[in-house]
Amino acid sequence: MIWLQTVLLLLIAAFGAGVVATHESRNQVLVLTAFGMLLSLEFFAAGAPDVALAEIVVGGVALPALIMLALARTEGRHR
């Protein structure tokens, strides 16, 4: 299983850098969500399904939803 975790950790590092490198906010939310899903896979591979579940719903639903709502609000004001 060590190879799986190695691949996952490398992907997480790549996506983490990707989140920082993405400049358009809406795209950034999508990359952040993908990053969260990879994190939950790693938690699952590391034998922590409880944390993986929490990360799936927080990183996949709660966080992007709130950021998207906040973005929609602030962008609407600038227009």
Binding site: P49, D50, A54, V57, V58, L66, R73
Partner: protein
């Protein structure tokens, strides 16, 4: 700060940080091999004394329940803070016409089906935390996923009818107070605060593990309602 100064500061601190991080990582136990004394103790004690099969839930809602209570209160305080802040701002601005966009039929249908499934899964997770992976927090946020889907399909106004703010606020407080009340039950039973005072029951059955499923359910209520309140406040900001 100019770009040049920032670069110089970075060049000084980045290697220092990398060196410290490397030093720390070099001192870690080998990857995935060490089992601590605490882990072995909990693994043997929890199933025997509390009849609980999910060791994580045993740690979170029984052995270290006080920590979870602290986390609950942090969440409760943050949600209250955000709501206070957003309502204060909303009061100052005149209401304008709604500019929400209607969802397409396909989005509505998909969201409706998944809303039902997400609620069922959330309640299952919150109620079965002591038996299988899951627990109050996971179940609470899964239930919130249902509300996000409902919002996407139906918009703010219908969400207000589906989950009225007063009801959501009451649920959130009931969850937080429920945790405290179960904790006080330990004191009334003649032991410590958050002591597992209910009978442990039969290993693997739904009513096993004493107070763990009750606390888990209270946490689920608090988390779901707290996040729902955040979502509805954010959504109402968007409406103006």
């Amino acid at each position: 700060m100019s770009r040049r100064v920032r670069l110089i500061v970075m060049l000084i601190f980045a290697p220092a940080f990398a060196a410290l991080l490397g030093w720390a990582v070099a001192g870690l136990e080998p990857f995935g091999t060490t089992v601590t004394a605490y882990a072995t103790t909990v693994e043997s004690v929890a199933p025997r004394e509390q009849q609980i099969s999910n060791i994580v839930a045993s740690v979170v809602y029984d052995i270290r329940a006080f920590d979870s209570l602290g986390e609950e209160m942090i969440l409760f305080a943050s949600v209250s803070g955000v709501v206070l802040l957003l309502r204060e701002r909303r009061g100052k601005r005149a209401h304008s016409a709604s500019r929400s966009i209607e969802a397409t039929d396909l989005v509505r249908l998909t969201a409706l089906v998944w809303t039902v499934l997400a609620v069922a899964y959330g309640v299952f997770l919150a109620g079965n935390g002591h038996l299988s992976p899951g627990g109050g927090f996971q179940g609470g946020v899964a239930t919130l996923a249902a509300l996000v889907l409902f919002y996407l399909a139906a918009g703010t106004r219908r969400m207000q009818r589906f989950a009225p703010t007063t009801a959501v606020e009451a649920l959130e407080s009931a969850g937080a107070l429920g945790f405290l009340a179960i904790g006080c039950g330990g004191v009334i039973a003649g032991s410590a605060f958050l002591f597992n005072w209910l009978p442990a029951g039969k290993f693997g059955s739904l009513d096993s593990a004493g107070v763990v499923p009750l606390i888990s359910f209270a946490v689920g209520m608090e988390v779901a309602a707290g996040f729902a309140l955040l979502l509805s406040e954010f959504a109402q900001q968007l409406e103006q």
